[in-house]
Amino acid sequence: MIPDLWREYERFCSIRRGASAAGVFDLSDLDWISPTTLLPLGSFLLSSKMRYVPPRDQAVAGYISTMFSADTASGELLKSYVPLVRLPRRNGEEDRVLGLIYRFHDHGRSYGGENAFKYLIAEMVDNIYQHSRFSNAFVMAQRYEKKGFVEVAIIDDGITIGGSLRGAGMRVDDDVDAIARILREGISAKGSDTRGYGIRSNARMFTDGLKGVVLIVSGSGAVELAFTMPEGVVRQNNYHLSGGSSSLQGTLVSVRIPFPSERVNVHEYTA
């Protein structure tokens, strides 16, 4: 069973709480970190210009430094990770950043097949461009050979899912309701009946199809959908993030996909 993602986001919240008191991000006690913690941390560090105290564990310190500074401009395939990569504004270069993610993951061959993997990643990224009105957006990924899963995280500092739906005049109870309804009902701020298929089919494919986990944190809400074993069922965990210490100005989408995954027929999920 794939470990849940919520605890990784909570780790970021804990570090951020400490930073607001101390004025510095103290990472000295960290002995492990994954993109769901590191990506919001990197995004926050860039926007706040605050500094961080590196972990005492030299391996973790080196890893963080690499993830924040590795050069992807050469387009060369990196071994087990995609470092902090900025999603370009709408300039036609977006597809090539997606290409970097695809190449790193060997075009998704181990993650349910090329069609399924690309469908999932493309819809995740496209939703940011279509709905979030971001100023900054980043992606990061890490493949864990021994743990048997890959983690991909995407963050933006945009108007949040609830903000997008409310801005389109749609009624949602709160940010948890907004996230849950786009995931399960496929509602869309664009209103058109042709919109909203992507994220809903993504949620089904990540859980039912690939037996993975998806976490969305947006504004003051978070929803995690997870395929759990041995029951073989999909569980939804809702988190109402009261106060500022756990909420997020923007949206984080994070997924864990086990590998090798059986080939998924994308067309079973696109109808």
Partner: protein, 103 residues
């Protein structure tokens, strides 16, 4: 009289993976602004097409007054275009349990 005609190789113009709605939109902006009236869209080298790209592609193609033909469409792309063209009503995604926590 020759019909003004232009071929666009999508893998070269956009990318081998046709992923984003905006990319489809830019493609048709380019087509609409061009002086040619006939376009051949060549899918040679294309590896995948997302649902969002397919949705925008179909919508913009239907609205366009230009004559557009396609060639070398890979099977996976044809299936995606077919799925989006004949979409069914959205089905709700049922989960087996819901737990709510206030943090």
């Amino acid at each position: 009289m020759n019909t003004p005609h232009k071929t666009i190789v999508l893998a070269a113009t956009i990318y081998e993976d046709l992923a984003l709605r905006d990319s489809a939109s830019r493609l048709f902006d380019q087509i609409e602004e061009a002086p040619e009236t006939h376009f051949s869209l060549d899918f040679a080298g294309v590896r995948s097409m997302s649902r969002s790209f397919a949705d925008e592609y179909i919508a913009r193609r239907a609205k366009s007054k230009k004559t557009i033909t396609e060639c070398n469409i890979p099977e996976s792309v044809a299936l995606m275009l077919e799925a989006v063209s004949h979409r069914s009503k959205k089905k709700g995604f049922k989960v087996d349990s819901v737990r709510t926590t206030i943090v």
